[in-house]
């Protein structure tokens, strides 16, 4: 606290509380909506207290799906989970290795390599979506996990993050391990990797959520309903043309879709703080 007067403190808490209400209320509403039947939600008089349809809604959503879109949410979650984990781990692997190369190895066109990576920051998937689609289609990777994951792995942000971190590690550590007989791979495995754990955790959180929330790319390359991700599933449930939208199932699915990212943040945050407190460079 910069100042500790009761009034400023009160104002600070008030702002905080307002912010929380604004963020939390829609989420609360979604959770409540997932506990009523369709009729209660549609007639516009949904109470703000939990209803009695929770068990029915969740089991139906998870194992059966909507009336029209008949894909169980559990399957969609599995697809999303594979994609998000694949993207997160793939990105970490690729960017930690390329950052290692750029920082610790002297090779011709090292600077060029770095700048090429840097420039790709300006080309997110949405910009290069057609060529990327063409390549993935030609490789026969439509409707595969590889096709879902691979184009989203290449990451300049991750490489930059690791590069910045590696540059703060004192050179003497590298020299000490050289004298201790550790080659390039051992230095990476025994020293760099353990020291990077917090950076890896941070990147994992960001990239898992990025992967989980992907919409455009899975929409383009998945046609089979068995490959559908949960974000697309929700969208499909809401935009129905002929039938009534099953809001209770849509809301249930939305709540389920929120769970994994929340769990990742909650779980990784611990590791985060632990790392921040304990690591000394």
């Amino acid at each position: 606290m910069v100042e500790n007067r009761p009034f400023t403190q009160f104002m600070a808490y008030l702002t905080l509380a307002l912010g929380i209400v604004i963020v939390v209320f829609p989420v609360y509403l979604a959770i409540m909506a997932s506990t009523f039947d369709a009729a209660t939600i549609v007639n516009g008089n949904m109470p703000l207290t939990p209803g009695d349809q929770a068990g029915e809604n969740y089991s139906r959503a998870l194992f059966y799906g909507g009336k029209l879109a008949r894909e169980p949410v559990s399957m969609m979650m599995m697809n999303s989970m594979i994609m998000a984990l694949g993207i997160a781990f793939g990105k970490i692997l690729i960017s930690i290795l390329s950052a290692y190369a750029v920082v610790y190895f002297k090779f011709p066109f090292r600077k060029t390599a770095f700048w090429v990576i840097f420039i790709t920051l300006m080309l997110p998937v949405e910009v290069r979506i057609y060529p990327t689609y063409k390549i993935v289609a030609d490789l026969g990777l439509l409707d595969t996990y590889t096709g879902l994951i691979m184009p989203l792995i290449a990451s300049a942000t991750g490489t930059l993050l690791f590069r910045q971190f590696f540059m703060t590690i004192p050179d003497e550590l590298l020299e000490a391990s050289k004298i201790d007989g550790a080659g390039a791979f051992r230095f990476f495995k025994d020293t760099l990797l353990p020291l990077s754990m917090t950076t890896i955790a941070a990147l994992f959180v960001i990239q898992f959520i990025y992967g989980w929330n992907q919409y455009l790319w899975p929409l383009l390359i998945t046609t089979k309903s068995s490959m559908q991700t949960i974000v697309i599933g929700i969208k499909k449930m809401i935009t129905t043309t002929d039938a009534l939208t099953e809001w209770q199932i849509a809301m249930t699915t939305a709540v389920l879709a929120m769970l994994p990212p929340v769990l990742v943040v909650v779980f990784m945050q611990r590791l985060f703080v632990k790392g921040l407190v304990e690591t000394e460079k």
Binding site: P170, E172, L173, E175, A176, K178, I179, D180, L195
Partner: protein, 358 residues
Amino acid sequence: MAGVTLDTVRKIYAGNVEAVKGVSLGIEDGSFCVLVGPSGCGKSTLLRMIAGLETISGGEVKIGERVVNQVEPADRDIAMVFQNYALYPHMTVYDNMAYGLKNRGTPKDEIEKRVKEAARILAIESFLARKPRQLSGGQRQRVAMGRAIVRKPQVFLFDEPLSNLDAKLRVQMRVEIKRLQRALGVTSIYVTHDQVEAMTLSDKLVVMSGGQIEQVGSPADVYRRPETRFVATFIGSPPMNILSGTVEGPGRVSVGGQSIAVTDMREGLTPGSAIEVGLRPEDVQAGGAAASSLSMDVDFVEELGATQLFHGKVAGSEFVVQASTGQLPADTRKLMLAVDPANVHLFDPQTTKRLGRV
């Protein structure tokens, strides 16, 4: 165990900057050699070339009988202690010390034996399970030394290992390093910019400046008979006073019209030619008349406890005299300095080389 031989070793950095300009030096097996010089004199570069952390641009480095120019640092059979210790922050003290041995495939029980032994010598047995950040500076320093000891190398390399410690601890660790080196008998090369460390630790003192060796010798030799004006002013604290004078004749020079006798003076110097006269602050006797003496105007006095430093001017040049406390009144304004002819150092004003007897 092995000695180290350097033969016209050069280091040229990109952009044709010559950091080390052809250094030749023989370091005997088991001796403690200290490289000392101001920052940027090439002493650290030289050490890093011996370690294999810098490529050698020219010349030859030999450890024992083996030329190591192209040998990887790990295969040179050396161990190095860094200024910032360079301990692996995520490993325990034990693992820090064991890491080098593990990489070499030393058997587990042998590693344990050696680490325990080193820990006992350095009195860090109780910290073996801790991480480096839980240790104080002095303890980290010990671990860094332990990491060097367990390897049982041919040569220890120290790169300003004490400069991150506070003054008191530095003195203590200095003594320990010396004792340890004596006990282990391993050839050691030690880089420092601190001339007290250099004097106290070395068997062989190497004074460097501008990428070249200025003088090699025992600390006492270097102190008593500095070969260049640079060495004269670098070794010794407070530094030697340099006055400009002229040659009067054999064994006599004059400083600002005051004639003084000199024991160690080259023969055949032309009378009337310019010469630089060096006098250590501790070598001149304040007060009392002598065969040769200088008069000094005192500006101010510095108290050092046991001694006092009188700052002032002799024949227009800055001059410092060290005297025991109480020997002279603190408000002294004028001093007569008795000069022992044996304590006068002469240097050529052009080449800055010593003009002593050949």
